[in-house]
Symmetry: C2
């Protein structure tokens, strides 16, 4: 019986993980849950899965859950320290790190430091602190298994391959809702249009990042750390069907690829059962029904954020932190209708231009750069928009 803690249990990765664990109750038990903001769902999860430790965002919420649970022997904690306590809980065999944004950084690092398996769903962690995470995992012996479908695909393709035999890893992108939109019209696209993702149902922030392709830019940086590849070994292809999640070209000219229907339960379950697999109950991929898988180069004019992401990938250090923070603030401003769709990349580009690259070799430095960048981006938005 493997014991699982889920950081971000009420989000989309968290609820899907619990669905899988519920189906495989003879193999997995939930010992820890750290919640996002959906308190009623968390109460339900606690009652259904009987974890031993639960963390909520505020002290008041924790007190309410504590009262609600009566005499049940469940430890209830709260705040960022609470999430870290769940991450470090001594019974954990697997920690699913699915708190999004920079908020997920400390709990993810905490889990990695305990040397367990970390099913990593939080993109930002590797983007802003890839080197730190890798070195802590090397010390503790933690196993980091990606949950993102693209990285899970690369991970599966690389299973038995040697690092030096890899020529290139290619992440696919659906291209988002504006892949075929005339370039001149993109700047006037509304929040509703940008949120209408053609393939995946995801959170709002990620969906906008899919429309700008920033999602893929962050994944490039993540892939660098996850797989120890050079920036020149990482590439993106637009693949509107989103069936092939990633491809790995080996130096002998052979390419391995991972394909599936677009269902995030597949990579989540794989991260839990690896190196084995279990029946998922999901239907087979019927390629003859899909009929055609298409691939296109990325037009940088259409997706200007990709050039910025590439620069952050190549420069490293503090630049990925800046890229990520500026983008989060800009996307939030777009979702609040303060700026237009094309302004997202303009804002990120300008913040990056002004940024002076520094080391960012500690978590503290990462947080400082993250906060400074957010403040700068806010200022820029106030001045201009």
């Amino acid at each position: 019986m493997k014991k699982i803690a889920i950081l971000g249990s009420t989000g989309s990765i968290g609820t899907n993980t619990l669905e899988i664990v519920g189906r495989m109750a003879d193999e997995f038990a939930v010992v820890g849950l750290a919640a996002g903001s959906n308190i009623s769902l968390l109460h339900e999860q606690v009652r259904k899965f009987s974890p031993k430790i639960v963390s909520l965002r505020t002290q008041a919420e924790a007190a309410r859950l504590r009262a609600d649970l009566g005499r049940l022997p469940i430890r209830v904690v709260h705040g960022p320290e609470g999430a870290e306590e769940v991450a470090r809980f001594e019974e954990n065999d697997i920690v699913v790190a699915a708190i999004t944004g920079i908020e997920g950084l400390r709990p993810t690092v905490a889990a990695v430091e305990t040397g367990v398996r970390v099913a990593l769903a939080n993109k930002e962690t590797m983007v802003v602190a890839g080197a730190i995470l890798k070195s802590r995992a090397a010390s503790s012996g933690a196993e980091i298994i990606p949950v993102d479908s693209e990285h899970s695909g690369i991970f599966q393709c690389l299973a038995k391959e040697r690092q030096e035999d890899v020529r290139k890893a290619i992440l696919t992108a659906s291209g988002g809702p504006f892949f075929r939109t005339p370039l001149a019209e993109i700047k006037d696209k509304t929040v509703e249009e940008a949120l209408a993702h053609p393939r995946w149902k995801m959170g709002r922030k990620v969906t906008i990042d899919s429309a700008t392709l920033m999602n893929k830019g962050l994944e490039l940086i993540e892939a660098r750390w996850l797989f120890g590849l050079k920036p020149s070994q990482l590439d993106i292809l637009i693949h509107p069907q989103s069936i092939v999640h990633s491809l790995v070209e080996m130096r002998d000219g052979s390419t391995l690829a991972q394909l599936s229907v677009t269902d995030m339960r597949i990579p989540i379950q794989y991260a839990l059962t690896y190196p084995e697999r279990r029946n998922s109950g999901l239907s087979s991929l019927e390629l003859s029904r899909v009929r055609s898988l298409e691939f296109f180069e990325v037009e940088e004019e259409r997706y200007p954020l990709i050039a910025f992401a590439r620069r952050a990938l190549e420069t490293g250090k503090s630049l990925p932190v800046t890229l990520n923070a500026a983008n989060e603030v800009a996307v939030e401003a777009f979702l609040r209708r303060r700026i237009g769709f094309a302004d997202i990349s303009a804002v990120v580009g300008e913040v990056m231009e002004r940024h002076r690259v520094s080391e960012a070799g500690t978590l503290e430095a990462v947080f400082v750069i993250d906060r400074e960048t957010r403040a700068q981006t806010d200022n820029l938005l106030k001045q201009r928009y």
Copy 2:
């Protein structure tokens, strides 16, 4: 330094293997060559690679080579026993089994019995004697690595996977030159039209087998033995671009695939260097240039031999031997313009109908059934055509 013997050195697999070995002379040395019918090419190969043992088809040819080599310390043998001697040569680390047809059976089995790595390019061996080959490999510890691009693809996808996690393996077929031909016109297709394969440049027999899809039927049977899969776990998809060679669907719903440009040097080299890979100097697969990968179900009306191959796959025992022998005779008759294109499947179907299934558990039994089927097919051709 790995020592290689090549059975069928003057054929297309053989010459490609030698090109690879010539490029990687610091890793591989040729110690044995068994020739097909191209004697002048064999003389050239012997001079270039200085093997220690060479086999030719006839005693006269062997004598001529022996004279030609003067005092060079190269053992020259001949005939089926000669090929077997090359296969069993004590210095071999890897035997490339690339003698086509039933002629390749004994030397391949001989190589497997010595417990070395066998790079298997001879389809018929697994088709007619899969159970025998697998049990001898289990006894000797021989490692059988497929050279066929489709099977190499499956082998690569399965690298680290467990047998019980595999749901299905899918071999792709280009569909041959008549994939889009109106059904009514297929029966009148000429030898020249059938030999015009859209993707692969191969020998005449194999090219006709691609047009009828028998090639893929034989590969299904081969895959059964190579990967220990049930008939119901094996499938074929038409994929006209011939970029994806095979796909393996796992029980969690994830599918792994192997892709490359159509160049048989990739799977040959992989069989030599596995589990490592080497630079092949071959250009990268540019999916954005290929643009679209298409997949279609197999129309059994268009490819009637597939139904016969399925039956042989499911029945096993002597039926695959009969299928293979009847097909060889029928294809030969088509190539000699004695029968039409559609007659190939009609002849094979009729011979299979008349066949009474027996065990075929020994090599001797396999040869008897093979000979009988050839005689029966010849008779049928004489009576009818």
